[in-house]
């Protein structure tokens, strides 16, 4: 085993839990706040709405909330990949719409198998992403303009494909089940068990690898308490969703099917961003494209891949949307993209590129879903909803800009 000679140069992994907490406080001071403001906002909103509406904390509403947030989480996660490059995809919502329109044409009009039709819709998403990527990375058109053009054009394309005012009922029970049915109760617990085992496994794997390399590890208690947090929070959530939440005679219990799907997307995406060279290069290009280029990174390829991932995941969010309302409209996806961007930014993803994680998108999506859900419950008009969401977005972007200023001009020795 290799060892390092004792030295003043550390890695931030040394020391006991107290040192680690001090170091975390230092990072917050330096403006590396991550999702913390969004988590605080989330808790504040939960307390606020719980005190204002007796229905807010019921198990029925709790399960609904997650289902409401699911579609937005996937869309916001899609956008994170391009936001990390300081790019934007305004067409993500209508790309989802066009993907689902293709599904309608292939499956419901031409009678093709629904699985093949879904794969075709996803492939169309990838093609759209590739096209945006070529325009942005190879030709040099700003992504704002390319995707604004597609945003307008695809609204027309959907009308052409589905007809004016076209509305098609989703006739695939498997797809409708995603947002409207639940797993058996044991399925929820199995999901949680898998999450805990995978977190533990990855934690110990990382420690073993760092040990082998001869560098310091954080106290094992820190990793274990992180896993314990997942187990406790997840346990509470699964327990709440495991009791009968129906108000009628037909019982409703179990974790909604969409939840493990969203968690899997978040896990795989985070894995790619944190643990692969592609992820590392994505952050590098977002931070300093010129430095990335000089380091031998193929910047254009990274950009194009990011747009492909974004548009493909956007189609996944389109599938969830269609599943939720049980239909596909010719006007689908027009307004949701801005909520997706808002969710990502509220969660702590920087619009300046290079900073942000998928979990931020999920937390931001929950914040926006809670505002929507809570204001609806206390009976405020829809106008208030938009006003509050807008205010939260501006607050989040302000925090981002300020913390960026702080970390840019931070402690210089």
């Amino acid at each position: 085993m290799a060892t390092l000679t004792p030295t003043e140069i550390g890695s931030g992994h040394e020391g006991n839990i107290r040192d680690q907490i001090t170091a975390y406080g230092q990072r917050l001071k330096n403006g590396e706040m991550g999702a913390l403001p969004a988590v605080i906002a989330l808790l504040a909103l939960v307390v606020l709405f719980a005190s204002l509406s007796p229905f807010f904390l019921t198990t029925m509403n709790f399960a609904n909330l997650f289902v409401q947030a699911a579609q937005l989480t996937v869309l916001a996660s899609a956008l994170v990949f391009v936001l990390l490059l300081a790019e934007i995809d305004l067409s993500a919502g209508v790309t989802a719409g066009v993907g689902m329109a293709l599904f309608v044409v292939l499956h419901q009009m031409m009678g093709l198998n629904w699985i093949i039709s879904i794969i075709a819709a996803l492939a169309l998403g990838s093609l759209v992403g590739w096209t945006i990527g070529i325009f942005v990375a190879k030709i040099g058109v700003p992504s704002f303009v390319v995707t604004l053009g597609l945003f307008l054009g695809f609204q027309g394309l959907m009308l052409v494909m589905l007809g004016d005012g076209g509305l098609f009922r989703l006739d695939v029970p498997e797809l409708k089940a995603i947002m409207n049915s639940n797993m058996p109760v044991w399925g929820g617990w199995l999901m949680l068990a898998i999450m805990v085992v995978v977190s533990l496994g990855l934690g110990f794997y990382d420690r073993a690898r760092r040990n082998k390399a001869g560098v310091a590890n954080r106290p094992v208690a820190l990793m274990l308490s992180r896993v314990a947090l997942i187990a406790v929070l997840g346990g509470v959530a699964v327990a709440a969703m495991s009791v009968n939440r129906s108000v009628s005679v037909v019982p409703i219990d179990g974790v909604p099917i969409v939840i493990p799907i969203v968690i899997a997307i978040l896990f795989i995406g985070t894995f790619v961003l944190d643990r692969t060279t592609f992820g590392r290069h994505l952050y590098a290009v977002g931070g300093n494209p010129e430095a990335a280029r000089r380091a031998g990174i193929k910047v254009a390829k990274i950009r194009i891949t990011a747009f492909i991932i974004c548009s493909t995941l956007a189609v996944v969010s389109g599938i969830l949307a269609a599943s939720r309302i049980g239909a596909i409209e010719s006007t689908a996806g027009r307004s949701i993209v801005l909520s997706g961007v808002a969710a990502a930014v509220v969660g702590g993803v920087s619009l300046f590129g290079g900073r942000g994680r998928l979990i931020h998108a999920a937390i931001g999506a929950l914040v926006i879903a809670i505002i929507d859900n809570g204001l609806g419950l206390i009976g405020l008009p829809a106008g208030v909803n938009f006003l509050v969401t807008g205010a939260v977005l501006i607050a989040a972007a302000t925090i981002d800009a300020l913390s960026r200023k702080r970390s840019g001009g931070g402690v210089r020795v």
Partner: protein, 249 residues
């Protein structure tokens, strides 16, 4: 003296009708710091871009460690062990020190990034340069001072097993204390057996740290001097063209 690490003879480069390098002879040795000075437009950048492979020379012979070398692209130069640290340093602010030092050559085991191994090697590289100003290799580069950034950029070339490190104006943006730090670092780099070429406008720095000084004037190498055998007034004379090699010879 032994074989030069890099030896240029009769190197020429022109852009259209403009001859920027008019037949340059130049040598730099392993374990020594070699200065390249000259006024703006003298051809310093063009000379360096030829060595880094970004803009290959039109004519002339390049020998690396005694063997003829063809520097057609940055890849060729990199393979030989020639690393350039540009003035803007090319660091990503949003990444930490380890991530920056391994950017573009990340170590992967079992399909994923091997953070432990990279962290170990980055720490070793910084230690080999006796760096004391960096507290943690997992600090974000955005939190580093100008001198620390320069340190990271130089350590990155060490990590890549550079044999020849070319520094473009390494102290231009630094204060007094940080300049001192970086110059010490440059000296240690040479003491570790690496050949160092420094481009600088600051003659005080050059005289403090360099073993020999080469002066470019309008595309010609007008003087190649040992630092111990010359003085600032002479070098200024060569840079401004008021003095020629014959004048002192």
């Amino acid at each position: 003296m032994d074989v030069p690490l890099i030896e240029l003879s009769g190197v020429k480069k022109s852009f259209g009708p403009v001859d920027v390098l008019k037949g340059i002879d130049f040598k730099a040795y392993a374990g020594q710091v070699t200065a390249l000075v000259g006024d703006n437009g003298a051809g310093k950048s063009t000379l360096i871009k030829g060595l880094s492979g970004v803009q290959p020379y039109d004519e002339g012979v390049v020998k690396f460690a005694g063997e003829e070398a063809h520097l057609h692209s940055p890849r060729h130069s990199g393979a030989l062990g020639i690393e350039v640290v540009y003035q803007d340093l090319a660091l990503c602010d949003n990444l930490d020190i380890v991530q920056n030092m391994f950017l573009g050559r990340e170590e992967v085991t079992q399909g994923t990034l091997d953070e432990g191994s990279m962290e170990f090697q980055a720490t070793k590289a910084l230690q080999s340069l006796s760096v004391r100003t960096v507290k943690s290799v997992r600090q974000k580069v955005s939190s580093l001072s100008g001198g620390q950034r320069q340190t990271v950029a130089i350590a990155r070339s060490v990590l890549r097993n550079a044999k020849l490190v070319i520094l473009d104006e390494p102290t231009a943006a630094l204060g007094v204390a940080q300049t001192e730090q970086v110059l010490n670092l440059v000296r240690r780099l040479a003491d570790n057996g690496i050949g160092v070429i420094i481009i600088s406008h600051n003659l005080a720095d050059v005289f403090q740290v360099c073993d020999s000084i080469n002066v470019l004037y309008l595309g010609r190498m007008v003087a190649s001097l040992k630092t111990s055998e010359t003085n600032q007034a002479d070098v200024v004379g060569y840079i401004t063209g008021t003095k020629t090699m014959e004048g002192v010879a």
